[in-house]
Every structure is written in structure tokens, then in C-alpha cells.
């Protein structure tokens, strides 16, 4: 599954954040998305996921093939780990959650309510959801927040297995995941990146973008 992004411009709150973004995400490869805080990584990922329309440009992939892993895990505190995963699995028409449970080492936790998990365990459950969507393109926004080293390793293994199976992943992260991956820096595409004086309004929106997590 390949995703080609042509001349994409994205906006947050009506203010252009990135302009003229071009890259290709090819099957079997991982692309690491880099850029300073507030540079528009989240906005770009949300646009690619189809949650907001771009102001210009084209994305070749159908949103039906994309799964988006946001800062928020979308977990229900009163449902158990198993119920949370089973729900997303059946929404996506997947029968088995075993691979997801084992892949993120959740085996002993399946009957615990998600509200009783630690931050790292919640994050692992949120990432396990990716495996029950069955979708080839993963767009991940800071997936390793609150994960310990061992869990980052589990996550890297899951990404490796995913791309080995013909999938692909675009991951916004600030840490080294130990993956064979190219890096895509979005800084050159920032809207009016060459402006001499910073616009207070634009910077306010940029801060807002980061605060919106």
C-alpha cells in the first residue's frame, strides 16, 4: 500500500501551517516525521487521516486504508482491556484480538478496567488498537509517550512486523525507535517560513496546535 502526497497545504483554525508538502510513503517502509513543536505535525497527520480537508493538494490514499493513532488513546475507563480492544476489532470487522494482546504484552491485563491501568499500559493498549484495525497505513502521533524502553522495543517490533507484511507507517516522534527508516523534516514546508518578522497570530495558533493534545 502506497501513499503519495502531492503539493499538500494544511491549515489549523483557518491559518495555513504547512504548504507544498510532497512525499511518498511506500509499502514496506517507515517514514519518521520530524519538526519542532508547533510546526504542524499533528495537523498534517489529521489531514492525511481525513479528519480535516486540506486547503490545497492531493493525498493518493483512501482514508479507508489509514488508521490514525493520536495523542489520546480513545479508551473507555470503565471497559476492560479486552472489551476496549474487541470493540475496535469488531468496528473494523476483525475477529481475533490475540495478536494485539500478545504483541503489546497485555496478556495479564485483559480483565482489568482500562481506567486502572498505568499511563504506559494505557498507551500500550492504545497502540494495540492499531493491530485490530487491519489497515495498511499507520499514521502515528508521538506513539512512544509514557512508554518505557522495553515497551518502545515492543512497539518497534510491531511496526517492523507491520511493514514486513506490506504495510507502511508515518510516525511523528522525537526519539530514536531503532527502526530502519527515512526521516522527513517538515520545517522547510512551514507556511511563510522565510518571513522576517514573526506574526503573533500565527504563533498563537501554532502554540494552540501543540496544546491540542
Amino acid at each position: 500500500m502506497e501513499m503519495r502526497v502531492d503539493n499538500l497545504s494544511v491549515a489549523r483554525g483557518g491559518v495555513p501551517v504547512l504548504e507544498g508538502v510532497n512525499f511518498t510513503l511506500s509499502a514496506g517502509h517507515v517514514l519518521i516525521l520530524r519538526g519542532p513543536n508547533g510546526s504542524g505535525k499533528t495537523t498534517l497527520l489529521r489531514t492525511l487521516a481525513g479528519l480535516q480537508p486540506p486547503i490545497a493538494g492531493h493525498v493518493s490514499a483512501d482514508p479507508e486504508n489509514i488508521t490514525y493513532g493520536a495523542h489520546a488513546d480513545g479508551l473507555k475507563a470503565t471497559l476492560t482491556v479486552e472489551e476496549n480492544l474487541r470493540f475496535w476489532a469488531s468496528v473494523h470487522g476483525i475477529d481475533s484480538i490475540d495478536a494485539a494482546v500478545q504483541g503489546f504484552n497485555l496478556t495479564g491485563l485483559t480483565h482489568r478496567p482500562a481506567g486502572n491501568l498505568s499511563a504506559g499500559q494505557k498507551r500500550r493498549l492504545g497502540l494495540a488498537r492499531l493491530l485490530v484495525t487491519g489497515r495498511p497505513i499507520w499514521l502515528l502521533d508521538e506513539p512512544t509517550v509514557s512508554l518505557d524502553t522495553a515497551s518502545v522495543g515492543l512497539f518497534a517490533d510491531a511496526v517492523r512486523a507491520h511493514v514486513a507484511g506490506g504495510g507502511t507507517a508515518l510516525i511523528a516522534t522525537h526519539i530514536d525507535l531503532g527502526l530502519q527508516a527515512e526521516t522527513f523534516d517538515i520545517s522547510p514546508y512551514r507556511a511563510n517560513g522565510d518571513r522576517a518578522t514573526p506574526s503573533p497570530q500565527r504563533d498563537r495558533y501554532a502554540d494552540f496546535d501543540e496544546a491540542f493534545t
Binding site: 493520536a70 473507555k76 470503565t78 469488531s90 488498537r129
Partner: protein, 218 residues
């Protein structure tokens, strides 16, 4: 879609889910009105259908902001928007879940609560029928209001103000049908008008609510 319905029902039944909130409020209204109005049986039985309708409507209003707000806050709504279920389907299912945990219990309880207000004999039947037909419209209109206000922190006040005028036609026809039926008159016209509002809401508002949600998720 069934999975979404099961999840929403399960969440409502679990601790803090809000099931029973509307019902408890409805019971409180039905209990307090006779104290406020006084013990005159004739007056009570005359106002009973209207009071029951107003009570059911307010009880319904109480839990509207839960329809989308919690899913918005924990990120589930983003994930549902990118899931294979169409947004319109998500809205319809969530409105249905709201009706099953709020509107349906209110409908079933109303004839019994009517006894507290000396509701006369055919009245039990009529209050049940009118609420059964009318409460789905309340849930659907409410889901539309909730979709409009989903991004707002503490949007409950705005939601109530937005939704109240939209509830008025349902209330007028519902209470009118219940009052006429209880008095032994023909209630067909207001009943059909209310059924029309319900059918129209169910047919049109999922699309409006889905559009509002898409805008709010940007």
C-alpha cells in the same frame, strides 16, 4: 454498528454511565408536583399528562451532553470518524443508545408515575403511546444539538438553549395528544403530527449531526 450500540449501552450501565439519572429526575418531578400544586385530585388529573411530558423532556435533556462529549474528550470520536462506519450511522446509533437508556425507561415508567398525579384510566395508555412515539425525536434532536456543541468545554448550557426550541413542537403535540386521549377525545391529529416530527428527525438529523461533527473535529 451493533458493536457501537453494545459499547454505548455497556458504558451507560457501568458506574458513572448516567443510566437512571433521567429516570430519577423524572421521579422527582412527578413526586414534587403534587406537593407544589396541592392535593386537589381534579386539578392534578387535568394537568398530569402535560406535567409528565414536561418531566420526561427535561429528564431527556439532562443526559444529552454525554452523547458525544465523552467520546470527544478521550479521542474515541476521532477514531470513530476514521472507522469504516459512516458518520451518519455513528450518530444514529448513538441517538438510539441514548433513547434505549433514557427515552425507553421514561416511557415505561411514566404510566406508573402518573398514579402520583391521579392520572385517570385511559391516560396511562395514552401517556405511554405518546412518549413511545415522541421520545425518539427527543433523542435524535438532542444528538444533533450535542453534535453542534461537542467541541465546547461546558457546552451543556448552550446545548440546552439550542435544543429547547427544537423540542417545543414535539412537546406541544405530545402533550396535546396525551391530554385529549385522557379526556376521551380524538387524539389522532396531534399524534400523527408528532409521529411526523419523529420520522422527519430520524430521517434528516443524522446527516445534519454528522456534518456538524465533521466540522467540529477539524
Amino acid at each position: 454498528m451493533i458493536a457501537l450500540l453494545v459499547r454505548d449501552m455497556r458504558l451507560a450501565m457501568r458506574a458513572g454511565g448516567g443510566f437512571g439519572l433521567g429516570l430519577a429526575f423524572f421521579l422527582i418531578v412527578s413526586t414534587l408536583v403534587p406537593f407544589g400544586v396541592g392535593p386537589e385530585a381534579a386539578i392534578l388529573s387535568r394537568i398530569a399528562p402535560g406535567i409528565l411530558w414536561v418531566g420526561a423532556l427535561l429528564a431527556c435533556l439532562l443526559s444529552l451532553d454525554r452523547i458525544f462529549q465523552l467520546d470527544f474528550e478521550d479521542g474515541s470520536l476521532d477514531l470513530l470518524a476514521t472507522a469504516p462506519i459512516p458518520m451518519e450511522g455513528t450518530v444514529a446509533i448513538k441517538a438510539l443508545a441514548h433513547w434505549l437508556v433514557t427515552g425507553l425507561p421514561l416511557t415505561l415508567a411514566a404510566p406508573a408515575f402518573g398514579a402520583l398525579m391521579n392520572l385517570q384510566s385511559p391516560g396511562h395508555y395514552w401517556i405511554f403511546i405518546t412518549l413511545l412515539i415522541g421520545t425518539p425525536a427527543l433523542s435524535m434532536i438532542g444528538a444533533f444539538g450535542a453534535a453542534l456543541t461537542v467541541g465546547l468545554k461546558r457546552g451543556g448550557l448552550l446545548l440546552s438553549l439550542l435544543v429547547l426550541p427544537l423540542y417545543i413542537p414535539t412537546l406541544i403535540f405530545g402533550a396535546e395528544a396525551a391530554t385529549r386521549g385522557t379526556a376521551g377525545l380524538s387524539a389522532l391529529t396531534p399524534l400523527l403530527m408528532m409521529a411526523g416530527i419523529t420520522a422527519g428527525s430520524i430521517a434528516l438529523l443524522p446527516f445534519a449531526a454528522a456534518a456538524a461533527l465533521r466540522v467540529n473535529l477539524r
